[in-house]
Amino acid sequence: MVDMTNVSKNTMNTADIIYKYMRPEHLPHIWCPGCGNGIILRAIAQAMENAKIDRNKTVLVSGIGCSSRAAGYIDCNSLHTTHGRAIAFATGIKMAHPELEVIVITGDGDSSAIGGNHLIHAARRNIGLTVVVMNNNIYGMTGGQYSPTTPHLEYGTTAPYGNIDQPFDIAELAMGAGATFAARGAVYHSALLAKTIEKGIRHKGFSIIDVASLCPTYYGRKNKKGSAVDMMRYQKDNTVMVEKAKTMTEEELNGKIVIGVLRDKEAPEYSEEYAKLVEKVKGGNK
């Protein structure tokens, strides 16, 4: 069970979230029944409220895939880009105007397959982006092909005999590349998720929140995971807070989703470092 004691109340109710942060004329959203992405989007809106960020100064950037439609539902500056490239577009926005809050919404394929290079380099630079990964372990928009996070030996339409690939752990991948804030969330623990995303937004530098979403339509059906409710129940039974996980053995952690903040450290932020460079150059000290 997840310890919720340290989580403050998320104050917004859904009606407020919809009318303050979303574009209700574009709802209901396009996602399938039971898709976890809607829960993540709500958590992002809640986190924006918690972090008290100005919508006029907030940019949501997305790539391609199920996750990418998320950007347009939030009432701020939204940029729906090309497959895998959201982080690269976002880097340009943040560099051009560091005062803007830049949030990237991406998926497992978008961020770690076609966009893997941009993910690791943004993490390496420690540029002030908040990256939320709607990780549903499958390519949903194209109908259920295996992704870099589809577990070993599970199925997709392009892994009809079982997936022989080993999966990425996206949060670990980002940490390996130097991410200064990395966290994992799960849609079952939606209130905690909002708080975790809020922490990511408040963090100065690159932050990533890898969120276990649900895809009952493709991943669930292909892998006999049952209904959306069954998949939610799986998350309920198999999520472990990071603090608790530290006391568990590797064997005990097998198959568990460790959630919470995995890393939170300070380091110089990229656009601020560039501003310092400009000052130095203008001052004549090369």
Binding site: V59, H80, T82, R85, F89, G92, M95, A96, V278, V281
Partner: protein, 374 residues
């Protein structure tokens, strides 16, 4: 007083871009365009601009588009292999109507080809490289001075029409060093924007001139930009009428302004019976061949499109009215020559001088075709 300085083509491109207001550059090293990145890295922080070396070519154009969406004039530069990689996001900028300058300093291909030998093999890629029907503007300089002045023009056209503009340089011009006069003032055009940004204002609200006025991100208009076909609000649509109207508008906003965009240079064309058609670096050899021919008493002229796309149909047709033979010289297997054939028809003799081995086309090779008895 304008000052004269010795400059390389690539360097002049950056100086022109900065004069036009370029304050953001994102790039990836590739010969023969690397000096554009290097000079940008040195110069931009000094003028309050920003430079970033991205992880790859795709990220570079994406990053430049991001900066432009946030209101900063942006550029990226590359050569053939990198230009291939940038094509998807080039189409994104066309559809999303993001002002941007993409420099392609052409080198021999295909593939890694012959780095870093001269070529003009990317002429058709500049027009058709990205998928789907889209408008494109491409400009080709043939001197270091033009690297400067036409870089300004590229930015002005990009801003005026809210579209990516390709600065189609080549290795000959990029690495050429010449003394040039730096103009003291250049005309600078800024993109259409909105005075009182408001969230209720549609991103692509219709305008008489078909060019949308949008505030940069962060100023309060709060709109959506997408690479999907969209309605005037900027949100995706599956309405085929709206989709068709959007692509039509994109094409028309360039087509309707043909006269403003298309620029050509004609030399000795008044009495010409033979004309050399050339552009970019090849124009230098052609110019020498034409002068030699005239000294030999041949009524020879030169037609040089400065704007490559849209193609100068009108000017070419008019200039070639009394010409019997056209010698087309380009550093490829034959790309623009087919456009020339399309425009002038079958009643003219067309001689082609091409090169695909990385060597330069010489004045003698062009002269031989001018003098050839047909």
């Amino acid at each position: 007083m304008a000052k004269t300085v010795l400059m390389q083509g690539n360097e002049a491109c950056v100086e022109g871009a900065i004069a036009a207001g370029m304050r953001f550059y994102a790039g990836y090293p590739i010969t023969p365009s690397t000096e554009i990145a290097e000079v940008s890295a040195v110069r931009l922080p000094k003028v309050g601009g920003k430079f970033i070396q991205m992880e790859d070519e795709i990220a570079s154009i994406a990053c430049a588009i991001g900066a432009s969406v946030a209101g900063v004039k942006s550029m990226t530069a590359t050569s053939g292999p990198g230009f291939s990689l940038k094509q998807e996001n080039l189409g994104y900028a066309c559809l999303a109507e993001v002002p941007l300058v993409v420099v392609d300093v052409q080198r021999s291909g295909p593939s890694t080809g012959l780095p870093t030998s001269p070529s003009q093999g990317d002429v058709m890629m500049a027009k058709w490289g990205t998928h789907g029907d889209h408008p494109i503007i491409a400009i080709a300089p043939s001197s270091v001075k033009e690297c400067y002045t036409l870089a300004v023009r590229c930015f002005n056209l990009a801003e005026k029409y809210r579209t990516p503009v390709i600065f189609l340089m080549d290795e000959i011009i990029g690495h050429l060093r010449e003394g040039i006069e730096i103009p003291e003032n250049v005309e600078v055009i800024n993109r259409p924007t909105v005075e009182n940004p408001h969230p209720k204002r549609p991103a692509y609200a219709p305008t008489d001139n078909l060019i949308p006025a949008m505030a940069p991100f962060g100023e309060g208009q709060r709109y959506n930009i997408t690479g999907l076909l969209h309605d005037e609000s900027g949100f995706p649509t599956n309405d085929t009428k709206i989709a068709g109207d959007l692509v039509t508008r994109l094409m028309k906003k360039i087509e309707n302004n043909y006269d403003d965009i298309v620029e050509v240079e004609e030399t000795h064309m008044e009495d010409a019976e033979v004309a050399v058609f050339c552009f970019g670096g090849t124009a230098r050899a052609a110019s020498s061949a034409v002068e030699t021919a005239r000294k030999k008493g041949i009524k020879c002229g030169m037609f040089r499109p400065i704007t490559i796309w849209p193609f100068a149909d009108k000017e070419l047709k008019e200039a070639m009215k009394n010409v019997k033979k056209i010698v087309v010289a380009e550093h490829n297997w034959g790309q623009l020559v087919n456009e020339v054939r399309r425009v002038v028809g079958n009643d003219k003799i067309i001689e082609f001088v091409g090169k695909i081995d990385g060597t330069v086309i010489t004045p003698d090779e062009i002269l031989a075709k001018i003098e050839k008895e047909d």
